[in-house]
């Protein structure tokens, strides 16, 4: 039976080429764009390496130290005494009048003295996306972006090593001059194209120091600056004055990895509790500490849409996304419904005959929804091809500023579901109307 419906659907498509073109145009472009959006989210938030453990992570990018200035306003009450009005100060009200604040990443001192052994945390790493270095090789300028970090970094972020491995905490403590290079940096500096093992043990000069290459990784192509660096170096190699800062503000951000993804909430609570009890180094300047631990998704939303807290940003960003996608989805669907409804009459004689020979409304409904799904899938295939072409064009032109969209089986499955949803949604209303056509009217109005 499905085979029959399928043949029929193809025949109908061939009948009115102009309408088929309009429908397919709308379907394929809509699906193409939805597939691209899916690919974008998969790249940014999908949990591909090195973000395989993203559900366990809690981020602390910034800390704020501040002092609140208050205006004192006396509250005055009036009473009648001996026929004379008298005013009395009954209390003082404090009103926030200003805040002197500094916000930024934390210093080594802050993280090591106050942020060790947080309950529910399995391990944590501190890192800084430091300045880029200019390196000249045969008068060619190479600019390497750098991340300085500790040994836990490579436990939390599961980078894919093409050769060698990460550095450990022991090496960080010993100020070992070791470096992990991205594939691209390795190519540019050593002219090693394929056999990356050959790069291990070689030396590279950065900031007038020689570093030994101990690992080569695939460069990350998302928008996280500290993950997509060209070189990763133990943080103890930074200039001494950045390491020994007494103040809380420094260069480093921190990622905590909870014992399990269900403990993320506990970690956030523990961290927030801590902010109230940590003593500040110079209270006459700033006497309060505030920070906002964020989960992976919340942190991402916070970087795009800055609200008071990461959780709030997440809520708003999600809401805005759903709203926009619905709106975007709505228009092509409405368009297709409109077209399909206009064409009801064309098929009414067929429906009449089928009904006269005993088909239920349900049968008719199913047939037309099925036909529409066939149409959607043809559009989907065209859309898929277009999406692939556009994906390559976007990646080739660096349109997303270094973010390279990847396409994998997950995106394919999502695209399939999108097609199915689109087909059912846009086919249901016209099919339902069609299935309710009265037999007598259907046969009478049309010449067979």
């Amino acid at each position: 039976m499905l085979k029959n419906y399928f043949t029929l659907a193809i025949k109908v498509l061939g009948r009115r080429k102009f309408f088929t073109f309009i429908s397919l145009f709308g379907i394929s472009f809509t699906l193409m764009i939805l597939m691209l959006i899916t690919a974008f989210f998969q790249t940014e938030l999908g949990g591909d390496a090195p973000l395989g453990k993203k559900d366990q992570l809690v981020y602390l990018d910034y800390i704020e130290t501040f002092k609140q200035y208050q205006d004192t306003i006396p509250e005055v009450d009036s009473t009648m005494m001996d026929g004379v009005m008298r005013y009395d100060t009954t209390g003082f009200k404090y009103e926030d009048s200003g805040r002197s604040m500094s916000r930024g990443p934390g210093s080594i001192k802050f993280w090591t003295t106050h942020m060790e052994d947080v309950p529910f945390v399995k391990t944590r790493t501190i890192y800084t996306a430091y300045q880029s270095f200019d390196i000249f090789i045969n008068s060619n300028k190479l600019t390497f972006s750098s991340t300085f970090t500790d040994g836990n970094f490579f436990d939390i972020y599961n980078f894919k090593f093409l050769a060698g491995g990460g550095f450990g905490n022991q090496q960080v403590e010993n100020q070992a001059q070791v470096v992990i290079l991205s594939k691209e940096a390795c190519k540019a500096y050593f002219a090693i194209d394929r056999d990356f093992d050959a790069a291990i043990g070689k030396e590279i000069t950065l900031d007038r120091k020689n570093y030994e290459v101990i690992g080569v990784i695939n460069r990350v192509n998302n928008s996280f600056s500290f993950l997509k660096s060209d070189v990763f170096i133990p943080y103890t190699n930074l200039p001494a004055e950045t390491l020994n800062k007494e103040r809380f503000n420094g260069l480093f951000s921190c990622t905590f990895m909870a014992e399990s993804s269900s403990k993320v909430r506990n970690v956030k609570e523990e961290l927030t509790k801590r902010s109230k009890v940590i003593p500040l180094p110079n209270p006459e300047r700033h006497d309060q500490l505030e920070y906002y631990p964020a989960t992976f998704g919340e942190r991402y939303a916070w970087t795009i849409m800055r609200m008071e807290t990461p959780a709030e940003s997440y809520k708003y960003a999600l809401g805005a996304l759903i709203f926009l996608l619905t709106l975007f989805f709505m228009l092509p669907t409405l368009n297709l419904i409109n077209l399909n409804i206009s064409r009801i009459m064309e098929r009414s004689s067929e429906i009449g005959v089928r009904k006269a020979f005993g088909a239920h409304s349900g049968n008719i409904l199913f047939q037309f929804v099925f036909e529409n799904i066939v149409l959607t899938f043809i559009g989907g295939i065209i859309g898929f091809v277009l999406a692939m072409l556009l994906l390559n064009a976007i990646n080739g032109s660096n349109f997303l500023n270094g973010t390279i969209l990847s396409f994998n089986y997950k995106v394919f499955i999502y695209s399939f579901l999108i097609c199915l949803g689109f087909g059912v949604l846009s086919g249901f209303l016209p099919a339902w109307r069609m299935s309710r056509v009265h037999i007598v009217n259907a046969i009478k109005n049309n010449q067979l």
Partner: protein, 396 residues
Amino acid sequence: MIKHIFTLIWNKKKKNFLLFLEIFFSFMILFAVFAFIISNMRVYYSPLGFDTKNVWVANLRIPSSSDSTEIAEMKTLLLQELNAMPEVESVSFSAGAYPFSGNTWSTGNDKNGFDFQTCIFFNDEHYAKTAGLNIIEGRWFEEADNTSKYTPVLITKKFREQCFAGKPVLDSLFILEDDAEESRLNNVKIIGVVDHYKYDGEFAEEELGTFIYTPSTSKDTWVTHLRMNNNVQPDAEEKLNKMITAITKRADFSIRKLEQRRIQNSQSTWTPMIALMSISGFLIINVALGLFGVLWYNISKRRSEIGLRRTVGATRSDISFQFIAEIIMVTLIGIFVGLFFAAQFPIMKLFDIENINYYYAMLSSAGVILLLVLICAFYPSRQAAMVNPAMVLHED
């Protein structure tokens, strides 16, 4: 007449409702996209205020904890050596907030009789020349300002217009930062006005700005701005790198070209804008094709009605007019309902953009939709008018 057309639409309300919905949603989407694009483009076309071509910037990280005299000597040497290079036209030092750095330092108070919040930039005496600032009143800093009693500052035109409108500003004092940690920011003297300084990028709305004099030998300013001339050799960067490394004894810096930074910075706005424009462009084509198909189909279903009207004396243009008027009526209803919702944006101040952008967006999206519908309705209604009454009446 209008009432009659309205009746016609009303009789087919089920069919027209979906058309109405489609037009309503198209309007809303177009409105949102236009509001975003128009507000961005209006900012984009306001002047940047400084040169990016041939200007290079290097952020040297030197600890401010080092000895002041030592640093002053180092910076004097750096300045001399850099100026001695044949490619370099001028050199200037500034603090961390500079064009496209993404850093903002700001301050504000209400102690002067007006409330203000201004971005602050710490620059030396060579910056106006290096960056190519346009000074419209007074003068830029000079080395002699080092000894002046009050810290000399320049303000931007926007600051002047907002807080000192109609008054002379040169040599007047005001409180820049109330209770400042650095006492030199308490009372400052305005010595000039700078035309524009849209330092945060081409798509960032210009904010109030104040340039604060910081001598080039200061230990707080380490961002080096270099204005290069037109005959820069390819090895200039390497030479610069080596020279700076030799003097500062550090190499953890990168020389960046301001022109490239400008392009990169704008790209982060161009990307969503182009994506949005192409998506909505596609949606519009999609809607137009759909509309065309629906109208064409509907009109061809009404051949007998047309035949009858022609027989009783309606001219061809009467027929086309009727169909166009019908669809325009549906469109107008859709647009009016859309305008009602769109008007909530400027009224409720939902986003931080000027109201005028919303009005432009309303006008342009209404215009685009009306034009689109007219184009889509034109051909089918002409087809309808061409109907031969005798043939049609015979068919039925």
